[in-house]
Amino acid sequence: MKGLEAISHYHGVSLAVLGVTVVFIALVVLAVIISRLHVVLGVWENPKAWLDRVRLWVFPEKPEKPEPPGPYFDDIHESARQLNLLIHAIGEPFSLPALIEKAEKIGISHAHSVVSHLIVSHLIVPDQKGYFYWNQKECDRLLGKGRGKKGVETING
């Protein structure tokens, strides 16, 4: 008996299909179990860490509000007042990097933004030689108007 007759007689096709299927199923099951083995072992070796992760997953913690940064002057009057005193201390003309460094040292946060704010407001003016001056006239005018509403006068007005 040869050819397709022999294959049919011995149920060759069903045997071949069965064989491939069983080999695949057995090895897939093995692969799945082996792939999770290190996870299971991790739980076995350190159950507390696993329990903490489960607890966090079930009861996620609310994210804490971030602490506000150091003094940041939304109000241009306060910015002008603080930097006026600082610039008098460091002297004129001054370089911007030196001013920003000093401002950060005394705890003014967002020093770049504050200095930029004052440049835009013409309180810090360039001398066209790479250094800057404090525009005392403008400062007096601004501070002479009194303090604006808290947080109202910003760069965007």
């Binding site: 008996m1 022999a6 060759g12 057995a26 099951v29 093995l30 072992l41």
Partner: protein, 374 residues
């Protein structure tokens, strides 16, 4: 004078047959391949010597016991094959020698080992079509698994008269892996795919390596109890190696026991290659279709590798699929060599060991299926 002539008639010269001479020539040729060319010498040397010993005219090596006279040496040693003892013991030695870490850290490569066994079942159909019985077809097609002990075990249980041809074919093709696989691998992959560098494998813990053989045997033993002789011994050997408290047993399994069994197995496999069994048309068909099975297994492994490459977005190099044929570690080395042709900085050896040892498990499972169903 009568005694003299009687003696002359009892010499080999007086009883030479052409078929016996042809087999002795084949034995000497395989001996040359094993020693000079170093093709699987640990097995080909004893196999070829067994062929030589058993094909001498009036050789008593495989004589059956009769009239109160004991049988030949190889007749008793052959009982280890007939009773299915040697191949499982060889598997124990293989398990003790094998590091399964690449497979444990990348278990999806087991699928590559599974895919490479498709060649077995395709060849099974082809052998049925050629007129072999189902048992013979199963024994021949297992050559596609490229696993010597599995091929010997299955053929000793299902078609012992074909054991010689099947064993010679299986071990010859395992030795010829560096010649057979690369053209198939290059044909089925693009240069870009061959150049893929894979991500480093994670470290495996000692506990994982100890639990692995236990889990494998629990799963496969429940699925397929007929695979237990082979897989059970493979995993026992691996457990000896990994548990750390049986070093002596591990060393004995790897060395003394393995070497002794290899000698007995090789000799007795060779002893089955008498002219009567070997010089037949069936042998030529076995040699041809054994090669076909091997090639199909390589191709399906590489194709599964391509599928995994697509599914993972290019993280798997398809070449490692060819290592799913369980010629450990030769086919893994071939993957490395072929990969480095296109990308010299590509080190695929450890990645290919995963499917390589997965293929050992796959071919044992395939043999278990034949044993269960036929």
């Amino acid at each position: 004078m009568d005694k003299f002539f009687y003696f002359i008639n009892q010499t080999g010269f007086a009883n030479i047959e052409l078929s016996g001479l042809a087999m002795m020539a084949i034995g000497l040729f395989l001996l040359y391949l094993g020693i000079a060319k170093k093709y699987e010498p640990l097995l080909l040397v004893p196999i070829s010597f067994g062929i030589l010993l058993v094909n001498f005219p009036l050789s008593p090596m495989m004589a059956q016991p009769e009239n109160g006279q004991p049988g030949g040496l190889l007749h008793y040693l052959y009982l280890g094959i007939e009773l299915g003892i040697y191949p499982p013991l060889i598997f124990m030695g293989i398990g003790a020698l094998t590091d399964f870490s690449p497979l444990i850290s990348n278990p999806k490569t087991l699928l590559l080992g599974a895919a490479a066994q498709a060649g077995i079942f395709a060849t099974f159909l082809a052998m049925l079509a050629l007129g072999f019985t189902d048992l013979e077809a199963a024994a021949i097609s297992i050559i596609g698994g490229a696993d010597g002990p599995t091929a010997i075990y299955l053929s000793s249980q299902m078609a012992p008269h074909l054991l010689g041809a099947i064993s010679v074919a299986a071990y010859s093709y395992m030795a010829l892996v560096p010649m057979i696989q690369p053209p198939i691998m290059r044909l089925l992959t693009t240069k870009k795919e061959r150049m893929i560098e894979m991500q480093e494998l994670r470290e495996t813990s000692k506990r994982e390596r100890i639990l692995f053989p236990i889990i494998v045997i629990l799963v496969t033993g429940l699925f397929l109890p007929t695979a237990l002789p082979l897989l059970g011994m493979l995993m026992l050997g691996n457990l000896f190696r990994e548990c750390g408290v049986t070093d002596r047993l591990s060393k004995a399994a790897q060395n003394e026991l393995n070497n002794i069994i290899v000698i007995f197995l090789g000799l007795t496999v060779g002893a089955k290659c008498s002219a009567h069994y070997f010089l037949t048309v069936e042998t030529i068909q076995i040699l041809i279709f054994g090669l076909v099975a091997f090639g199909i297994g390589t191709a399906t492994g590489v194709l599964m590798g391509k599928l995994m490459c697509m599914a993972t977005g290019g993280k798997v190099n398809p070449l490692i699929g060819a290592a799913g044929v369980s010629a450990v570690p030769m086919s893994a080395r071939v993957c490395q060599t072929v990969g480095q042709e296109d990308n010299p900085s590509n080190f695929l050896l450890m990645f290919a060991m995963g499917p390589n040892v997965g293929g050992v498990i796959g071919s044992a499972v395939a043999a278990g299926i034949f044993l269960a169903v036929l």
